[in-house]
Amino acid sequence: MLQVGLTHFLIVSAILFSLGIYGIVTRKNAVMVLMGIELVLNSANINFIAFSKFGNFGLSGQVIALFVIILAAAEAAIALAIVLNIYKTFSNVNVDEIDHLKE
């Protein structure tokens, strides 16, 4: 019987991380990029919880995961607000074109 161990969690987390990075790198839409970032954060969360369960660290991993979720929520709120502002300014949320800080 296959036992679900640390390795499986890490593999799922790695896949999620890769997908998140892929999203961040390939998407033009700023909202999609933000979603990629959520994926990366959640892969990190899975790692935390996995180590918390299988490692000998007590509950601190799960507490940190909770922090990350809260942070992610706050971040998503702020980032979406920024995106909205960008949209108001440029009528566009394409990250390649929002480069007015560049010369």
Partner: protein, 706 residues
């Protein structure tokens, strides 16, 4: 009066003229009346010095008062290698007498100058210079160590330079000032070397400590010869300042300065500084050094007296007479007649200052006529000047009842005793000859100036007696040339308080074998070396001449007196025969012994000799050096300039092509690299993230942390 109060008053006396000098120099332009302040300051200093002299001579007659502080300490003071330099005062009887003499004459000269210098362009500055001179002279008098002595010695040289060259628009005056300064430096080199010999051995400049060391047998470099050398070298300073042969040539030229200056500096005080120095170092003079000093002094007095015979400028005669009398003092120190040398210094200061001021009075009234051939008959016009001048002349000629007789007689007795004890008979012979010559030339001046008929009627008619401020100093100084101030017995100075109470000949501290026989201490007497510092101060108060010497001095007293009377009388008589009664004709005699006459008139051709030897030598040496400078040194400099130019051209080429090429290549290479890598910089965050991720993957593969 307590000792500390005495010292403090001395400090005040020293500082006062300096304060006067500074004030007058700084404010003199705005407040021309400030010269009165300078005169008042000297008056105060005079009063204080009288108080100090009285207190010292009555309360502490046999005790020296020393006050000093450590100025500079090198190394850790108590340890053996360390040096500490003390500054301080030593106040003994000689000091307070000198204080009085210097301040009195300085004050009188100040008063005299008020009238004499009136209307001069630099009237106030003149008084400032007199102030700085008085300050320096007082410093010499008060010091207890050789270093301060040297410092103030040079300050005196400086102020003398300023005063001689006071009328610097006159070429002769500025030349004379330069000559005085340079000639004095020659002597000072010797003095400096002598001081350094002593300092090297004893690590101190203080007189008393040095003498204590010598007395305990610690000689410079362990040899008597070095001690003799130190004595003679320090004496060289005195040769310069006191105008001894061969460095006396500056003094007659110094008469270019204002006449009151001549009275103050070149008759009474500054030139006495040399004698004072020898007085201070007297105890460390070996027999050889003393013989040198005696011979130099005797020769100087003879040379100067013979020159004075034929001079026609009234101030020149007085100048040579000063040189001659200084020679007397130095000779007297050389033969061991210490007390009489100092006594003569004091009496000479008064009567010579009187003579100079008298001549100043004459010159003033004759509208700057200085040639005695153009004077004559001034007796009726200027009675005060005449009588004071006459009294001083009698004093310098050695006529009884006057001060000069007492001191001169003592010196001559000293030389006579010296001749008898050591066999150097030439010195007393010169001494008596000079006494006769002095009487002759001084009366020549008096007769030609004041007696007979006026020779220049125009100037005579304008002549007038000097006003009170000029006559008063003359009267005071003439009064001080009378015996009563020094001794109750007009023919025996030994009965007086100056010789019997105030000035005692100190013990020599040099090893017994280097002393004259008559100065040796008997072995029973406690050697001076055992005394500690406190007792050391007493040494100057001891009378130590051996019985033999005392007896000889006693023996010499009457012969010396009669002989000096005889030669002085003879000199005066001959002067009257020549110039007053015209029994003999001076011009004919001069014609008959023309070479001798010219020899004397031209001052033994010494100036010409120096021109030909020292000055010509210096000039040719400098022209050789100039040639060397122009050809060799400049050649080397120019050659190196050429080489440098060539080298810089080479390095310029190298710079342009090699260094610049390298720099430009670097710039080009950087630009190329920049261009190539610029493409990676897209400005897109997502691209960068791709780079980051691949970089992390590559790094992980490289370092394999798992």
């Amino acid at each position: 009066m307590s000792e500390s109060l005495l010292i403090n008053i001395c400090v005040v006396i020293l500082i006062l003229p300096l304060v006067g000098f500074t004030t007058v120099v700084l404010l003199g332009k705005r407040i021309p009346k400030l010269y009165l302040l300078e005169v008042a300051i000297l008056g105060i200093a005079l009063l204080l010095s009288i108080i100090v002299a009285y207190a010292k001579l009555s309360d502490y007659n046999a005790k020296d008062i020393v006050a000093s502080f450590t100025w500079i300490t090198m190394g850790n003071a108590p340890s053996p290698g360390a040096i500490s330099i003390d500054l301080g005062f030593k106040i003994d009887n000689i000091t307070v007498l000198m204080l009085f003499v210097v301040n009195l004459i300085s004050f009188l000269v100040h008063v005299f100058s008020i009238e004499y210098m009136r209307g001069d362009r630099l009237y106030t500055r003149y008084f400032a210079y007199l102030g700085i001179f008085t300050f320096s002279m007082l410093g010499i008098v008060l010091t207890h160590n050789l270093l301060m002595m040297y410092i103030f010695w040079e300050l005196v040289g400086l102020s003398s330079y300023l005063l001689i060259g006071f009328w610097y628009e006159k070429k002769s005056a500025s030349d004379a000032a330069k000559k005085a300064f340079i000639v004095n430096r020659i002597g000072d080199i010797g003095m400096f070397a002598g001081i350094l010999i002593l300092f090297t051995q004893y690590k101190t400049f203080t007189f008393d400590i040095i003498y204590q060391q010598i007395a305990s047998g610690n000689l410079p470099f362990g040899s008597n010869a070095w001690l003799t050398a130190a004595g003679i070298l320090i004496f060289m300073g005195a040769v310069g300042k006191s105008a001894q042969f061969p460095l006396h040539v500056w003094l007659p030229d110094a008469m270019e300065g204002p006449t009151p200056v001549s009275a103050l500096i070149h008759a009474a005080t500054m030139v006495a500084a040399g004698v004072y120095l020898v007085v201070r170092i007297f105890v460390m003079l070996t027999a050889d050094a003393m013989l040198v000093i005696a011979v130099v002094g005797a020769f100087t007095s003879l040379v100067a007296a013979t020159i004075a015979l034929t001079q026609n400028d009234i101030k020149k005669v007085l100048a040579y007479s000063t040189v001659s009398q200084l020679g007397y003092m130095v000779m007297s120190l050389g033969v061991g007649a210490y007390a009489f040398a100092f006594f003569h210094l004091v009496t000479h200061a008064f009567f010579k200052a009187c003579l100079f001021l008298g001549s100043g009075s004459v010159i003033h009234s004759m509208h700057h006529e200085q040639d005695i051939r153009n004077m004559g008959g001034l007796k009726k016009k200027m009675p005060v000047t005449y009588y004071t001048f006459l009294i001083s002349t009698l004093a310098i000629s050695g006529v009884p009842l006057f001060s000069g007789f007492l001191s001169k007689d003592g010196i001559l007795a000293g030389t006579l005793a010296f001749g008898k004890l050591t066999g150097h008979w030439l010195i007393p012979i010169i001494g008596f000859t000079v006494a006769g010559l002095t009487a002759f030339y001084m009366f020549r001046v008096v007769i030609l100036t004041f007696h007979g008929e006026p020779r220049d009627h125009h100037k005579f008619d304008h002549a007038h007696e000097s006003p009170f401020v000029m006559a008063m100093p003359l009267v005071v100084l003439a009064a001080l040339s009378i015996f009563i101030w020094y001794t109750p017995n007009p023919i025996n100075a030994n009965a007086g308080w100056v010789i019997s109470n105030w000035i005692k000949t100190p013990t020599q501290v040099v090893p017994n074998e280097t002393r004259f026989d008559f100065m040796k201490t008997n072995s029973e007497e406690a050697p001076a070396s055992t005394s500690l510092h406190g007792e050391k101060a007493e040494i100057h108060g001891e009378v130590v001449n051996s019985v033999e010497y005392t007896e000889t001095m006693h023996w010499a007293h009457y012969p010396a007196m009669f002989l000096s009377l005889a030669v002085a009388g003879l000199g005066i008589l001959i002067a009257f025969m020549f110039y007053q009664w015209k029994k003999l004709n001076a011009d004919k005699l001069a014609e008959k012994i023309k070479p001798l006459y010219n020899f004397s008139l031209n001052k033994w051709f010494l100036d010409e000799l120096y021109d030909m030897t020292a000055i010509a030598g210096t000039l040719s040496l400098s022209s050789i050096l100039a040639w060397f400078d122009n050809k060799i040194v400049d050649g080397i400099v120019n050659g190196s300039a050429t080489v440098t130019r060539f080298a810089s051209r080479m390095s310029g080429w190298f710079d342009t092509f090699v260094v610049d090429g390298f720099v430009n290549f670097t710039a080009f290479f950087s630009g190329f690299v920049g261009l190539s890598f610029r493409r990676l910089q897209t400005g897109k965050v997502q691209t960068y993230i791709v780079f980051v991720i691949f970089a992390i993957i590559i790094l992980l593969m490289f370092f394999k942390p798992f």
